[in-house]
Amino acid sequence: MKYLCLVYLEEEKLRAVPAKECMACGDGFRKSGILVAAEALQPVATAATVRVRNGKVSITDGPFAETKEQLAGFYLLDARDLNEAIHMAAKIPPAREGSVEVRPVRELTP
């Protein structure tokens, strides 16, 4: 089953974890066969938000949420169950600085 591990960090901590460590973590996941995809993200200030209302596209900057933590990256894992996903999420280096939300992927059925 797939789990998306969403890494949340305060903006000023985005670079608190050395890139080398994050890359090593990704490599470890890849070697154990659990990794589907992983990326680090640019700060939220670089983002654009798209909405379609009544067929019209609107674009705004942001998102600017109330919380100080923002989405800083993700790991998509294919784990046996939630316990394995949690076990792996605890190894993601930014878990020490911010938090990692472990979300089961919902399989869409037509």
């Binding site: 089953m1 046996r80 169950d81 939630l82 316990n83 949690i86 076990h87 089961p104």
Partner: protein, 415 residues
């Protein structure tokens, strides 16, 4: 005379239900992989027992029979539902043929099933109130209505909580397993927290007219015993000891009129000596492991009280020392408050008031009723009537529990 011939069997089925239904359920969840399917299977298995046992007699191993019957019925039902005609060869007969040893023969894995059930119900990915509800429902077998009543929650809210927890177990795929040794300490904490919460809800009912709700405490002690039997870790023994030592004072801590009686004023001849002996033995066992934590230390404090003939004869020095140990393991303002009260007993009320004032001055416990109640009592002993009155009034304003409010009002009236 159908009734007279079936009654003894019906009674036997009832007895088997009380004794084994939770174990059967725990195993069925493992075999069938789903809480709801397993519950339905459990129900069907007992229905089959009511039909077949009067005719064929009660089987030698009723638990194994029920597991096999439940599994058979569930698989049969799933096949019917998914129209697996090709596999329908066993599904036509009404009776259950039960010689399915693999499912239950291994005692160890069956015991593990009960641990699996406890750890799954107390999985930290579930909301804390859902952990409590699910544990009481699935592990203890209480009905949704009973749980709702005990927690003064509307039954539909509680039912919803349980439904959501079960669907989370399914959708997030929370596995049905005992944690690995590496994960155990953290996961065991969650289980112990649930058990202690259930106990306290029964012992210190946080609101309402009745001071205690004994059945919840009894349920928590039953859970503690089960866990101690299956997983005798020091803190498991410590928690069981703590609950037994508190429970031993249940009779003495309320007056016949339902009023609260403080530890110092309790008639210690009414303490339950059997529970105290059991609790003290468990504390000693846990302390010997040298791996004990906060529950064991609290139980040790309680055991020191249990040994003393009255408040004056209590070894307050020992108690202060244990609170120091507790502060190192599990520092919190509430532990500091309790330590302050012990210091007051050892060194005089003045020393205690100073410590409580320090806590309040930091901004901790300012809205905690017992901090003001303790301060009031110590000020009263020091003859500081105005300070005592102000503190009692603050405590009364903060308490939500009727017997406690009446107790504080009596103390205030005596000033």
């Amino acid at each position: 005379m159908v009734v007279s011939t079936t009654d003894p069997v019906r009674e036997a089925v009832n007895a088997v239900y009380v004794e084994h239904s939770r174990r059967v359920l725990a195993t069925l969840i493992r075999l069938l992989g789903d809480f709801d399917v397993a519950e339905e299977a459990l129900h069907d298995a007992f229905k089959a027992a009511l039909e077949q046992w009067p005719r064929d007699g009660v089987p030698a191993n009723p638990r194994a029979w029920l597991v096999s019957a439940g599994r058979f019925k569930a698989i049969d039902g799933l096949r019917r539902r998914s129209r697996f005609d090709a596999l329908d060869d066993v599904g036509e007969r009404g009776d259950v043929a039960v010689i399915d040893t693999a499912a239950w023969a291994d005692e160890e894995s069956v015991d593990d099933d009960r641990l699996r059930l406890i750890f799954t119900c107390c999985h930290p990915a579930l909301a804390p109130d859902a952990q409590v509800a699910l544990t009481l429902r699935e592990v203890c077998g209480l009905t949704t209505e009973q749980i709702a009543q005990a927690f003064l929650t509307p039954a539909p809210t509680l039912a919803q909580r349980i439904v959501r927890a079960k669907s989370k177990i399914r959708e997030a795929r929370i596995p049905y397993q005992v944690p690995t040794p590496a994960e155990l300490p953290g996961r065991l904490d969650a289980v112990l927290r649930v058990i202690y919460l259930v106990f306290n809800e029964g012992y210190e009912a946080s609101s309402g007219e009745l001071l205690t709700r004994a059945d919840l405490s009894a349920e928590a002690i039953r859970l503690g015993r089960l866990l101690a039997e299956l997983l005798p870790e020091p803190e498991v023994l410590g928690l069981l000891a703590l609950m037994l030592l508190h429970e031993s004072r249940r009779e003495a801590r309320t007056s016949p009129a339902g009023e609260l009686v403080r530890l110092d004023d309790q008639d210690r001849s009414r303490w339950d000596r059997t529970m105290i002996a059991e609790g003290t033995g468990l504390v000693e066992q846990a302390l010997l492991s040298r791996r004990c934590g906060a529950y064991t230390i609290q139980a040790a404090i309680s055991a020191v009280h249990s040994e003393a003939a009255d408040a004056a004869a209590t070894d307050w020095n020992e108690i202060v020392g244990l609170y120091d140990a507790l502060l190192r393991t599990d520092p919190s303002p509430i532990v500091e408050l309790n330590r302050a009260v012990a210091v007051a007993m050892r060194d005089g009320a003045d020393a205690g008031v100073k410590l409580i004032d320090d806590i309040l001055a930091r901004g901790d416990l300012v809205d905690y009723r017992l901090a003001h109640a303790a301060r009031a009592d110590l000020c009263r002993r020091l003859g500081r009537v105005n300070d005592a009155r102000a503190a009692y009034e603050r405590a009364i304003a903060l308490t939500k529990q009727d017997p406690e409010r009446r107790f504080l009002e009596r103390q205030l009236g005596k000033l």
